[in-house]
Each structure stands twice: as structure tokens, then as C-alpha cells.
């Protein structure tokens, strides 16, 4: 498949969606239904590969590009995934100009508080998935305490979680 066309199709899917997997119906329509570049099975594999690893949602587009045109296709998928994000830069400086007005400040602070609430809620399903036993609950609690009350770098706690998971497996 032509790389530029591949980029355009994936770009279209990204720019018309507002979260990682919202682009999926458009991608399926273009690549599976209309052009027969991918099978449904390949699309599913792409989604699983994109969701299992670390990194942002929407990485499945890299796998879709890979199926469509090999490594150059994967690169086209990555660029298509990133480019729409740059719209935010002019948006940010435009709105930033009004940030000193007291009522706007008050609104921005309310948004910070609401996003704290959103984070707390979004962590619940994750904790439920993870809390398969006392060990996982212990990791959750230790992670919270260490990160809330010390300034240790986040990455070490993630690594610690992985090591504890592996250690528990080692001990059976």
C-alpha cells in the first residue's frame, strides 16, 4: 500500500476521534471492509498488541500500519498518531492569555480538583483488576504511601511492582 495514502487514511481516523480506540470503526471500514488490506483477525491482533504493552492508547495504529506496509507502514502509523496532537499548542497559548482573570483562574482550579476526582475514579477498575490477592493489595498500598509522602521517582515504584510480582511468582 502507498505510504502517503496509508498515512492519510490513518490521519483521518485519528483527527476525527477523541480517544485512543475511538478511531477503530473508521480504520476497520477503510482497511478491512473497503480496501481489504487487513483481515479482521489482523486488526484484532493489532488492537491487542497496542493495548497490552505500555504507552498510549491508539498505538494499535502502528500495528495496523505494520500489517499494511511493513516497517515503513508502522512509521507512517506512528506519525499519523502524533500529528493531530500538535493542534493543542496554539490552543494552549490562546486560552493561556485569559488565565489570570479571577473567575477563569477559579474555573481552572476547579478543573484541577475535578481531575483529581477523575483520577481517583479511574484507578478503581485498575485496582480491582490488580487486587487479585493480599500481595497485590500490599503493592497498591505501599505504592500510594511511598508516592504520596516521599519524592522518590515514580519509575522506581513501577519497577518495584514488577519485581515483587516476579518475586512472588518465583516463590510460587
Amino acid at each position: 500500500m502507498n505510504l502517503f495514502l496509508l498515512y492519510l487514511l490513518l490521519f483521518k481516523a485519528v483527527i476525527t476521534s477523541f480517544s485512543g480506540l475511538a478511531s477503530l470503526p473508521i480504520v476497520r471500514n477503510d482497511f478491512v471492509v473497503k480496501r481489504h488490506v487487513l483481515t479482521d483477525r489482523q486488526l484484532n491482533t493489532a488492537i491487542v498488541a497496542g493495548q497490552t504493552g505500555p504507552g498510549p492508547n491508539g498505538l494499535y495504529l502502528v500495528s495496523v500500519g505494520y500489517f499494511a506496509a511493513g516497517l515503513p507502514g508502522a512509521a507512517a502509523g506512528l506519525i499519523a498518531l502524533i500529528t493531530p496532537a500538535f493542534v493543542i499548542i496554539p490552543l494552549m497559548s490562546w486560552i493561556g492569555k485569559y488565565a489570570e482573570i479571577p473567575r477563569i483562574r477559579s474555573a481552572i482550579h476547579a478543573v484541577i480538583l475535578a481531575s483529581a476526582g477523575l483520577l481517583m475514579a479511574a484507578a478503581i477498575p485498575l485496582a480491582r483488576d490488580a487486587a487479585a490477592g493480599p500481595l497485590a493489595i500490599a503493592i497498591i498500598v505501599v505504592s500510594f504511601v511511598v508516592l504520596a509522602f516521599t519524592r522518590i521517582e515514580t519509575w522506581w515504584v513501577m519497577l518495584g511492582g514488577a519485581l515483587v510480582g516476579l518475586g512472588a511468582k518465583l516463590l510460587g
Binding site: 496532537a85 499548542i89 494552549m92 477559579s106 484541577i112 483529581a116 478503581i124 504520596a148 511492582g161 512472588a168
Partner: protein, 193 residues
Amino acid sequence: MPAPTLRQLTGVFLRIGNTTFGGGLPTIAALQRELVERNDWLSPEDYALAFSLARVTPGTNVIAFCAAVGARILGFRGALAATLAETAPSAVLAILMTQGYETWRSNAWVMAGIAGTIAAVAGMMWASAWWMLKPYLRGVGGALRSLVITMAAFAAFWKLGLGPVSVIGLAAVVGVLWKEPESEAALPTDTDL
């Protein structure tokens, strides 16, 4: 507010972006902790602005968030470095996983490591929520207002099933109508968080 070198900034996005499992919100939470709390490269206001605007920017929220905070900290080169550092290594991993997914899923060792990380991520998200809330818990009136807004957002998302965009939009409206107390208006000073 100290500015990092491009290398330092890229390092943070490389480490956070590619080791945090569970999608956009955990990544944004971890970045909040690194950029705002630990390093003081980004003000809480800019963080909030980037967070809300990322929701209304097309595509994956966390990538737009990286572009916004990268640009705010080091200009366009910061945005480019942040988005690439956030996505490229994970993209390589996604390709490897595409090739060998079946083998990976049946590997109990890999899954044990990932399970431990997911548990740590859940704790990290609550810790981040705490860091965000803490500076607004000063003065009885201010603290009460802060808790009401936070818990209302929590309940609206968790119990009422409102989407994050609606919750953030509603919070902005509440913030305009229910002005914060004057003593709090000078907050946060970013230095004593």
C-alpha cells in the same frame, strides 16, 4: 521556575511514557508528579490547562497532553521530543508484540511482572490525586469547596457514568459560578507544594 535541558525532559517522557501501563490517565498522573511536584518545571495551572485541552484535542489525549506540556516547558522542540519519547519506544514494542503476541501471552513470567506493575499504578494514581488536591486544602471554606468539587467529580464519573469531558466541562462551569475564596486565589505558589 527552573527549565530542564532537552535531554532531561526527554528522559522523563521516555521513562514515564514507556513504563506506565494502563493507558492515558495513569501516564498523565505520573507525568504530573514528575513535572509539577518533583521538578517544578510546570505550574499546576499549566498542567490543568494542558489536561483539559488534551481532552478536546483530536486523537489520543495523552499524546496531546505531552505536546502541550513539552511546548510549555521547552517550546516546539520540547513538544516534539515529548511526543516522540512518549510514543516511539512503545511503538517498537507494539510491533514486536504484533509479531509474537501468542508467545508473550502464554509466558507466565511476563504476566507476573505486568500484574505487579498494574498494582503499583493503581496506588500511584491515588497518590497523584492527593498531590493535586493538597494545595487546595487550606482554610475551612476553601478546603470544603475543594473537597466538594473533587468528590462530586469522582461520583459523577464513577457512579453516574458521565464521561471525563462532561465532568471537566461541568467543573469549569462550577468554578466560574462558585468563585474560590480570595485567600485561595493566590494559590498555588508552586514552591511550597
